[in-house]
Symmetry: C2
């Protein structure tokens, strides 16, 4: 009913096809290996949400918004606070992304879990949802956002849109709509409401507002599904309309990326998990510098300068020469390489204000140079360390740890979770949370994961 | 601290200049005639908010969102429900726009009051704000959104953005930030948070989601100011950054429209108020058809067909040939002209589902044709009525009622308020509300306006 501008001849009904698929697909239609990747996606997300929960970004958001929260049904993971489901979706989206340590769909640099898992775990605390249905919805939501991202990437991203927010809101709406049991028309409306809120600029990288994007996408996607269920109507063709998402926000529109092979080919199976707490493009440099440190042993102190031969995106996204804060450090390949070489660290502890200002790291950072090499694979780097004696040591990283060709094992996902979560809720609580997170696909009530988090925080509070 | 992409040489610090102005300006710096236009803007907005309050769009939004509302501090004007201030801002933004009957900044087709007044009246119910300060903040907010709109119009709008939402969120943030007493850095952050949520597609015209846009802009702008106050940081150059608002969402960026003559030239003084409950571009046709009806008297039944020679935007925006619902009727110049000629009506009563389907109106609607004439002023139209006897009657409208050259008088604003409000809250309550609305600039506590609205609804409920 919506618009009077016709789509060009031959344009498929992308929104309708996608909405139908979201509603029709059953958990059993999803191959086991994809379901298992969905579980890994969720476990990694829980660890990141807890790991980021004590960040000052989260304190500021809670200070501003707690006075407006409705009935406190839903947990802010890793904290004592509960909020209404919409606000909890926002907060968990912020916490899970604030350390830049979450998951990545490498084709689009979307961080898929933040918008989707934050929306549906908050929802799951308001009604009983099984772990099986939850993982189904999570995978469906991730599939939707990554396919929509593929259809407009890279033009959409190059233009300045933070694609985790802009595409993520569709994924959150899809996953929430699936769990709410929307009919197909309501799902089209939910996409309409979600799409019309698609937003978030890359200009925000390096500020608290970057992690606000997946949070708001989670909240807005959930809100869209709830409103559509209540009969709030919207365009039923928001993705493909001439004045809709893909045409307004991108010069590239490849509909086949959205509708071809739905249910056969799975973007949700391509998710990857960051071993290091910063933008994925710096990972080869950190991986290589840590290897170099291990190989050099005591001689690491004799490194005079570093030169990186890297993919062009490395300098474009993380070329900050003079970071002043921990957050800014995540956008400096120079800091990241220096810290990896001198401390062997790429975890959240490498990106604190204190470490970014540490004199010996600043000194080496200033002696790091980089070349953008368009022929280089984005998961690779060549590092040349010039030693004080004039010799050069070279390290070639073919594929960085955490890339598609070198994914984190379950043990590495667990270890990553353990390190960051223990800093926030302690080791005993982390063990309990890890245990239930890995079992979440089999839970009768997936909200149990959130309850274990809240109990852990309460016990820690009581003990302190 | 935000981005590493430099702005092109010569780009002024638009965000900083605008934020400084918002914080520095005092009520006494605003000329009396602009302050009075601010009062008219507010009175017209209150009438529209009450007038739209019983629409099914509002019922659906409340059904979905009331379960998530926080402490019920703030009124949904014209209804019994109260919600937390953020949700009330959303709901009042929806109600005040849902009938397409609100105010218009004609240069940009922004409807300025919806995002701004909705945000700050909801806020005013949470703390004491004088009518004087409220009108100052309203004018500042309107000025900000219209100037930002000017800087990117028409390219931004032509691309498909619903500019009332995309620019409105800045206005809401400015007005709320002013009343919250933000410092200058916080105001820049508030703009950063607001800008990164700028969204809303014209594809939504004709659906409930159109009025969601000013509502969400109000809510998001208020939220941005609250978060900035709590220390949630953001880009401090969101308007002018290469990956910020104006460059990402428009090919045109005219910074002078934003920063030149601040405090001297007032866009807020150019606001206009719709005499008819639909898109402004149809107003000349409705005005002319009502005049024609008056002139023809009984002969109106002999009109066989109508031809309109109109500005090109009329067909582009309101060319819907076959509207099925009242909302769609607002986007049909054919329906609007037929209804104005046959019933003399351009009020909300002309845009109900029933009237849009009335056989005699449908019959004449199908006999209305229109030509897009690029030489014609947007506030004018020539109407040729072909009579059954073969003769032709012509009506030339030089400037439509409600246009800048033919503004509504205070009495006409009052009458418009009275008609639409009485349908929702009754005549006695409407009189009380009108009385206090016109006095609002002098109130010690501007929230009194909202309280009178709530009392009126309660009394009506008790009487029923």
């Amino acid at each position: 009913m919506s618009g009077h501008q016709p789509t060009p001849p031959g344009t498929p009904n992308v929104t309708e096809i996608l909405a139908d698929w979201v509603i029709d697909i059953q958990g059993a239609d999803i191959p086991n290996e994809i379901r298992y990747e969905g579980l890994r996606t969720f476990v990694n997300w829980v660890g990141c949400a807890v790991g980021g929960a004590s960040h000052e970004t989260v304190d500021a958001a809670l200070k501003a918004l707690m006075p407006f929260s409705g009935k406190a049904t839903s947990s802010v993971l890793g904290r004592a606070e509960k909020m209404d489901a919409l606000h909890a979706a926002l907060l968990n989206g912020i916490t899970s992304h604030v350390l830049d340590y979450d998951d990545t769909h490498l084709k689009t640099i979307i961080h898929p879990a933040g918008p989707v898992a934050s929306a549906i775990l908050a929802l799951a605390e308001t009604r009983k949802i099984s772990g099986y249905d939850f993982i189904t919805a999570l995978i469906v939501g991730v599939e939707v956002e990554c396919r929509i991202g593929n259809s407009v990437y890279p033009d959409h991203y190059d233009r300045g849109w933070h694609i985790t927010g802009t595409a993520g809101v569709f994924g959150a709406a899809a996953a929430a709509g699936k769990l709410l049991g929307l009919n197909k028309q309501q799902m089209r409306w939910a996409f309409g409401l979600a799409g019309t809120q698609s937003s978030g600029f890359r200009e925000q990288f390096g500020t608290m507002t970057k992690s606000f994007h997946p949070g708001r996408a989670a909240q807005n996607g959930l809100c869209s599904a709830l409103m559509a269920q209540a009969g709030f109507d919207s365009s039923e063709r928001v993705i493909e309309a001439p004045r809709g998402f893909a045409c307004v926000m991108s010069d590239k529109q490849d509909w086949s990326e959205i509708i071809d092979g739905l249910g056969d080919h799975w973007e949700a199976g391509l998710n990857s998990y960051k071993p290091f707490a910063c933008g994925i493009v710096i990972h080869p440099a950190i991986d290589g510098c840590i290897q170099l440190r291990d190989e050099l042993g005591d001689r690491v102190s004799e490194v005079e300068s570093l030169h990186l031969d890297a993919h062009p995106l490395v300098l474009e996204l993380t070329g900050k020469r003079d970071p002043k804060t921990g957050l800014e450090g995540k956008f400096s390949v120079f800091h990241s390489a220096a810290c990896a070489l001198l401390r062997g660290d790429g975890a959240p502890t490498a990106f604190t204000d204190e470490v970014v200002r540490a004199p010996e790291i600043v000194a080496l950072r200033d002696a790091v140079t980089a070349t953008a090499n368009p022929d280089r694979h984005s998961a690779s780097v060549r590092i040349e360390a010039k030693m004080r004696d004039g010799t050069t040591v070279t390290k070639e990283v073919e594929r960085a740890l955490g890339s598609r060709d070198k994914p984190l094992s379950d043990e590495q996902v667990t270890e990553k979770f353990r390190v960051q979560s223990a800093l926030v809720i302690g080791e005993a609580a982390t063990d309990r949370l890890l245990d239930i997170a890995w079992k979440s696909a089999d839970l009768d009530d997936v909200a149990e994961v959130a309850r274990v988090s809240s109990e852990a925080v309460r016990k820690k509070g009581a003990a302190a």
